[in-house]
Symmetry: D2
Subunit: 353 residues, 4 copies
């Protein structure tokens, strides 16, 4: 029996197909029936550039919550009907680097593997390898919207803030307050940040940033961001996280505005040709003890379950970034096009299937 | 010109005196005129046992916010009129252990030094050594009540939670929800805790605990605490902080209820003869990777200023634990007696001078 | 075809049997042919108490290096003939706690599982589950003796020192300098310890301790250990690791001799009924910032491979603790009896099959 | 009574003067009579560029060990005649950032302050502010050469390695094996590094690198350094520390050769106009979890005393980098010129006064 999916056909071309085989879950695998998915700016990027050629001919999509449709042999923790969410990074946990505390090495999704049964989640069914480790149970009391927001926006924003080594009351700049940056604001509040600067330009984002706990909103159209923040703060800040900007210069500015001994993380993906140029003076000729870490999103069932636990207990409200809710799979292309940046009042659309 | 103060005369005897010399600030010292003070259970303990004999003949008290009355030569950061708060632990920062990251070694308060100019803050004036490092500026927008709560309850509760090494969404048991325990709940929320169990017995504390973010309230009169929590949680918790209990067995119970690899901190002072007996099975015969740390309160201007910054930006509401506010120095004995435990609806009284 | 093994028959009774079935490696499993094994004090303990009833009727033993005899389906990293060593803790790496950085939860060895194909390594063949993650490749240039010493003595001693959070030049007390304690001395040198006190009583251990880098040797028969060390050191030490002693009081003494803010780890297994009694004064009534962690040995291929890498590059000489080398399986009972403590010049015997 | 000193007169001009006033130690200050000094490449740089204009008219020099000549009022820990060494970074420890664990903010040496009593150590006397915190006692058994090497080469190399977060057995590349890089090799061995690659070009440095524990020596004249190391190692390394190279591209190469999730520190000072250009691919478009930290040397009595403790117990031999020993102050210019790079067999000269 075939299934329907929204498939990457060629550079810039995605199409509905209804002849896709429903994957059969093999050893340790879990088959999921999506209930809600969300498009991501990287879906747009992947569509436009076909950055991951293995995806050609397969469904797009990597943000999903749904129900378990079937489990393969050896799956211990899940059964059909369970409410689950899937981290956007699907990792091979049978990998010695895991034992070293580094859990991002060996990716098992359709972006990296040629197994034709794998694909994105913009389809009626979606297969996850190493399911016991890569599928997260949605706690009671957590909604579908909350869950799907956590799968990628949450895991990225929280991971980026994690490496800021925040101490109670320290200051943070969140440079770029789209969906990931807004999650980073929540993450900063929940690591004890005091003053939080949100840098963006759109009112819809400023409004949510304020609700999430940003204390100062800075518009990058009002002048040099570093200057604006240094003036507001009366000097450099403790930490900064870069969550967006097509332009890698955001990172150089972040290094500029952070004090000696402070931390900068990058959660943006700089896919273009631009190199990162660090002005020598801004990190004190190499001696300013400024730490720069470019992080990747974090996978794993445990991390995602912990984030959803935070939502369950009301520590943060991931659903506030959902500006548009569609009902019906057929609205996917419209939702996806919103992430291309044309719709000024959109942060994150979700699509219920 | 003499000043008035509430002086520890003998075991169990404190008296008002109005013949105390006003201390003259010497090199690096700051003289403070208290605006608000708070009595502490340790004041009661010190009064009853005279645990610190050097304090005899001097005013009691170590929780205070006020204004700078005068500065000694060499003080760089403060001047008369500044609104300030003083950490309960007054430390010698010219001490090589500071360079090792351990900042609790060498205490400079009247509890430890015989310098007759030093004394507690239950007096019209109060002298602080190494003032630039031991006096904290109160940020604009932070009230006197907020500031005084941070000086000891805050610095202790937040320090204890700091060493739990919390990850987003992990569970915490706060064992003892008096003033310090309630601050620990705030600290846990601001380190990303998910489920938070508060253990106590009084309704007034349960109410504030709930406001601060406790998700489950456990009454130790309802049976074995460890059993109650393990049942609610469906198994052991990630971390626990012990913030009270006359009885050191709270610590053993905490070790019992924490999972392998989890963290337990102790913020209570066990001044009595009881030893800490750790049941061998509860930490898996020494092999369970459970970490136990008994912490002391943390001093220093920087830490206290960061806590008050959190209050400034509304990250927590320290003032909610102030159940009784007195106006007039003369109410100090009454406020102090409340900390002896007779008043069931008292958490923390403060006294404005 | 049956195999031979040295089997735990009953409390206090172990016997050779030659009718054991050779296990067939199933999915992900690796079958190993031991080349060298080492008996451990816990083998003696297990034999005397049958602490792990699941082991009855199966071979004893958990320290082994050998060659891969066969691999089950799905094994990716090993093949027949590979030189390998096996960490004494065989862990289930398909376990969400792994994602939390805690890798000791879910044990897969014969001590914990009833699968009759599992058993100890005192046999002609030895089966390891989740082989890609639980079997370590022996680097070129590392000898069989070096490898087998690392599997349990190394992984325990190094793990215990790891949690001392040593800074360059700090002092360490290693309390108990049997095989694990001697490995802890190596581990301390390789974490930058300065002064290292070794506490024991036997000359053979003192000699190796000196070669490994201990600077001071203390005999517990010469008086109170804490007093001796405080006098030599001119005050308390920075850290201590407890690696032995039938008596849990070693741990209380360790807490006594460590300075405020210092770290104590326990690598001993206290299987007896004695509880750990911590004198209240020695950790400053709960406020001395002393951290106590009772650690379990650490498993995993990556950790063991890193330890063997240290041996490869001459950073330490694990083989120096091998005081007796036997050739022939039949010498196992004699070697095992040495660990019972009757042979004064024995540290660690090994038996080549 | 005047004293003699080797004074920075103008850009490129240093001269002996014998009319300098001997500084009088004021509050907390310590006057030191140098016994041995060492010139540093930064002395050459400062002489050539006058990067610190406040130094004009004052003696050069910042690496020194000697005896206390006199102490100012308030000095508690030292007295005339004590053998001491002085960290190259002289810090103001009465600085709230110290309480935050960042101890490099507020410098008190002649490079930063205009107080005419301050100057470098290339003089008969040398004044140190905040002496109890900035002067380190030389342990018995540590030689003058050992001490002076630790003051800057040691504190820089060890600090840089500290931030690599090394785990037992991990691999390190030390890029640049002049004096600081050689100290970094020692530091890496003493943090448990396994394979250590030393990158340089001079035989004298290769020889000491080998003695210190480097396992592989790479000549940057033999081709692309990153390629050479990746080939030797069979893939990327765990960590790298950049300790030299006039060219900031060393840092980009280091990022290139380090694996995902690895650490890179920079201990070189890049004073020239070159910016740091990070090729986008080498850190995986910002998502590779590679951490870059540019560190400054670390001051403080405690750290330097710990390093000298390591020398005392034979954990490393700092004196091996001393290739030239001069006796007599008058040899200073000759020794200094060696650091300009003309003498191929020089690593570090020292001059006894």
């Amino acid at each position: 029996m075939p299934m329907k999916g929204y498939v990457l056909q060629d550079i810039g071309v995605a199409e509905w197909r209804d002849d896709l085989p429903i994957p059969e879950p093999d050893l340790g695998e879990i088959l999921i029936k999506p209930v809600v998915v969300a498009p991501c700016t990287s879906d747009v990027h992947i569509l436009e550039t076909m950055a991951f050629p293995t995806l050609q001919g397969r469904p797009l999509g990597h943000e999903v919550a749904g129900v378990v449709a079937a489990v393969g042999p050896g799956v211990r923790h899940f059964q059909a009907g369970d409410r689950v969410a899937v981290p956007s990074a699907i990792v091979n946990w049978a990998n010695p680097m895991i034992q070293e505390g580094y859990d991002k090495y060996d990716q098992l999704s359709s972006y990296f593997l040629t197994d034709p049964r794998l694909g994105g989640c913009f389809a009626e069914y979606f297969l996850v390898k190493d399911g016991d480790m890569n599928v997260a149970r949605i706690p009671d009391g957590v909604s579908w919207e909350q869950a799907v927001v956590c799968t990628d926006m949450g895991t990225t924003g929280f991971e980026a803030v994690n490496w800021l080594h925040l101490k109670y009351g320290q200051s943070v700049v969140v440079y770029g307050i789209g969906a990931v940056g807004l999650m980073a604001i929540c993450a900063a509040v929940l690591k004890g940040a005091g003053r939080i600067f949100g840098v963006g330009s759109r009112q819809v984002c400023f409004d949510v940033a304020r609700q999430y706990g940003a204390t100062d909103l800075v518009n990058y159209r009002d002048g040099d961001v570093s200057d604006q923040i240094m003036e507001l703060n009366g000097g450099p800040v403790d930490t900064a996280v870069v969550c967006g900007g097509a332009d890698i210069s955001a990172l150089a500015e972040a290094v500029q505005m952070v004090r000696q001994g402070g931390y900068i993380t990058n959660a943006a993906v700089f896919m273009h040709d631009t190199e990162f140029v660090l002005p020598n003076a801004s990190w004190m000729y190499g001696t300013g003890d400024k730490t720069i870490r470019g992080i990747g999103t974090r996978g794993g069932r445990a991390f995602l379950e912990r984030l959803m636990t935070l939502a369950k207990y009301g520590r943060f409200q991931p659903e506030l970034i959902v500006t548009h809710t569609f009902h019906g799979m057929e609205h996917l292309p419209e939702a996806l096009s919103m992430m291309g940046g044309q719709v000024r009042d959109a942060i994150k659309p979700v699509v219920f299937f």
